[in-house]
Amino acid sequence: MGGWAIAVHGGAGVDPNLPKERQEEGMRLLGRCLDVGISALRSNIPAIDVVELVVRELETDPLFNSGRGSVLTENGTVEMEASIMDGPKRRCGAVSGLTTVKNPISLARLVMDKSPHSYLAFSGAEEFAEKQGVALVDNEYFITENNVAMLKLAKEVNSIVFDYRIPAPGTVGCVVVDKEGRCAAATSTGGLMNKMRGRIGDSPLFGCGTYACELCGVSCTGEGEAINRSTLAREVAAVMEYKGLNLHEAVDFVIRNRLDEGKAGLIAVSKKGEVVSGFNTTGMFRGCATEDGFMEVGIW
């Protein structure tokens, strides 16, 4: 085995004119989250727990588009979604349409562990959250001034945002392979700025925005439609499995050949301890670390 490895991301598609301090803020946050993951891995905490821990950190911080800091629907509210997948048996849990759950990724975990299902959404998911006793808050808690301003802008140009005129924060995700070679992946998001109520993106869809199996763990970010149509996360694993490519080759192949005109990025780990990121967007907030001491955070 190649030892543990971890990667995090805070969204693909970054405005090249993003002010330096915002860039640094983002990188600092990713660095902090990596540290949380590294400590956990050093304490032999399993991959599935580590990805949840790290994504909770990202959700709690208002900087990126998940949990607090989520982008807003056309109604100015927040509707969050997340998914988590455990490589060894490909167990999975996902949630969508959350409006009061403080940490969507943890509810996704509970769906996986404590319900007979894989995916719960909207009021059914909120009901489950209540029964499970997870932390619940008012929808206002998630809303930041930044996002209110961005929604206004988006409505003025009448767009669902994925364009640099209105640099919207990105989805977050984490992938981990632990010492035992177990892979896990987790993704969390508020979705698209100015999205229709009830809109579901790629993040909660297993095989699209998130995927983990015996071979690898993958978390994607970018244009939801492009990610879904190309079943991006599964694609990485499929070319490894059916074409015998290694992780680097697989990620490269998929980003190059599967996205067509779509723009997206992803992070991935393999059971051998490899960690790779790939994107065809201008930049992706990302960071990674491996057991041998290597660590890196970057955007471009």
Binding site: P116, H117, S118, A121, M196, R199, I200, F206, N228, R229
Partner: protein, 320 residues
């Protein structure tokens, strides 16, 4: 090469002893829906239109777990979902959590064609349906006595179950199969390819008997229960979790592409990889092949090709 069409009304533990009063109406429905699909192709309709039309018919039939006849949630309500995908463009549309929309598959099509999104759910989806003027009715329209009975049984046995589960006594014998509380789903679907190789798939369902409110299954998850690209179109049915984990619909196409298998070989391979008793699918390829493998006791299915061949079956050889 001519057109080809295949459709299903759900895979599961369909008992060989299924009484005629339950078997015959379903066979007739399959025949009827197949006929609709054939007529549509003869009228030169695009595969997307064919697949949608056929699934609408299946949704309207109360004997299948979609639209009218959908199984019930743990609260005795219906929450329907559907998904449609165009192989050539890989455009797709999905909906979940519908309670008043008569034809979920048509709403999925509108999501694909009339919104910048791919997937709308629950209240947002219902609001969109109204905006689009799609037919909506009181929820009670979808609820059938058969399903009320199924829910009652499931709740008595504290189980989330398949819609083809046999009455309780026989179940005790099959107890092990349902021990984990989760069971196979019915679901309906249709795949179609025209003589030019344009492919389309459509799937629709009420989900699992006694499911939790808000539960979403494999049907609306692109790559799990539904998928189409330039090689093939697939619609899966069975145990949602197994289909999701196995990314069943996507894998049929992936195996064709990366391992160079034919449609039949690829479909059989994928169904073989998922746990026994959990999955069935129908698929057509860009060259007009048809495959309908299943690893459950049975799968309500039918297919037809332009050369005049047609088939309607429930059990029989799983190696098709």
């Amino acid at each position: 090469m001519g057109w080809a069409i295949a459709l299903h009304g759900g895979a599961g533990d369909i008992p060989l002893s299924l009484p005629p009063e339950r078997r015959l109406p379903r066979e007739a429905a399959l025949r009827h829906c197949l006929g609709i699909g054939i007529a549509a192709f003869k009228a030169h309709k695009h595969p997307l239109d064919v697949a949608e039309l056929v699934v609408r018919e299946l949704e309207n039939h109360p004997n299948f777990n979609a639209g009218r006849g959908s199984v019930l949630t743990n609260s005795g309500t219906v929450e329907m979902e559907a998904c449609i995908m165009d192989g050539k463009t890989k455009k797709c549309g999905a909906v979940s959590g519908l309670t008043t929309v008569v034809n979920a598959i048509s709403l999925a099509r509108l999501v694909m064609e009339k919104t910048p999104h791919i997937y709308l759910a629950f209240e947002g989806a219902e609001a969109f349906a109204r905006e689009q003027g799609l037919e909506t009715v009181d929820s009670s329209y979808f609820i059938t006595p058969e399903n009320i009975e199924r829910l009652k049984q499931a709740q008595e046995a504290h189980r989330v179950q398949i819609d083809y589960t046999q009455p309780v006594q026989k179940e005790v014998k099959n107890g092990a199969a349902n021990a984990d509380g989760d069971s196979q789903i019915g679901t309906v679907g249709c795949v179609a390819v025209d003589s030019e190789g344009n492919l389309a798939t459509a799937t629709s369902t009420g989900g699992l008997v006694n499911k939790m409110l808000g539960r979403i299954g494999d049907t609306p998850i692109i790559g799990a229960g539904t998928y189409a690209n330039h090689l093939c179109a697939v619609s899966a049915t069975g145990r949602g979790e197994a289909i999701i984990r196995g990314t069943v619909a996507r894998d049929v196409a992936a195996v064709m592409e990366f391992k160079g298998l034919s449609l039949k070989e690829a479909a059989a391979y994928v169904v073989d990889q998922v746990p026994r008793g959990t999955t069935g699918l129908v698929a057509v390829s860009s060259t007009g092949e048809v495959a309908m493998p299943f690893n459950t006791t049975g799968m309500f299915r039918a297919c037809a090709t332009e050369d005049g061949y047609s088939e309607i079956a429930i059990w029989d050889s799983p190696s098709k």
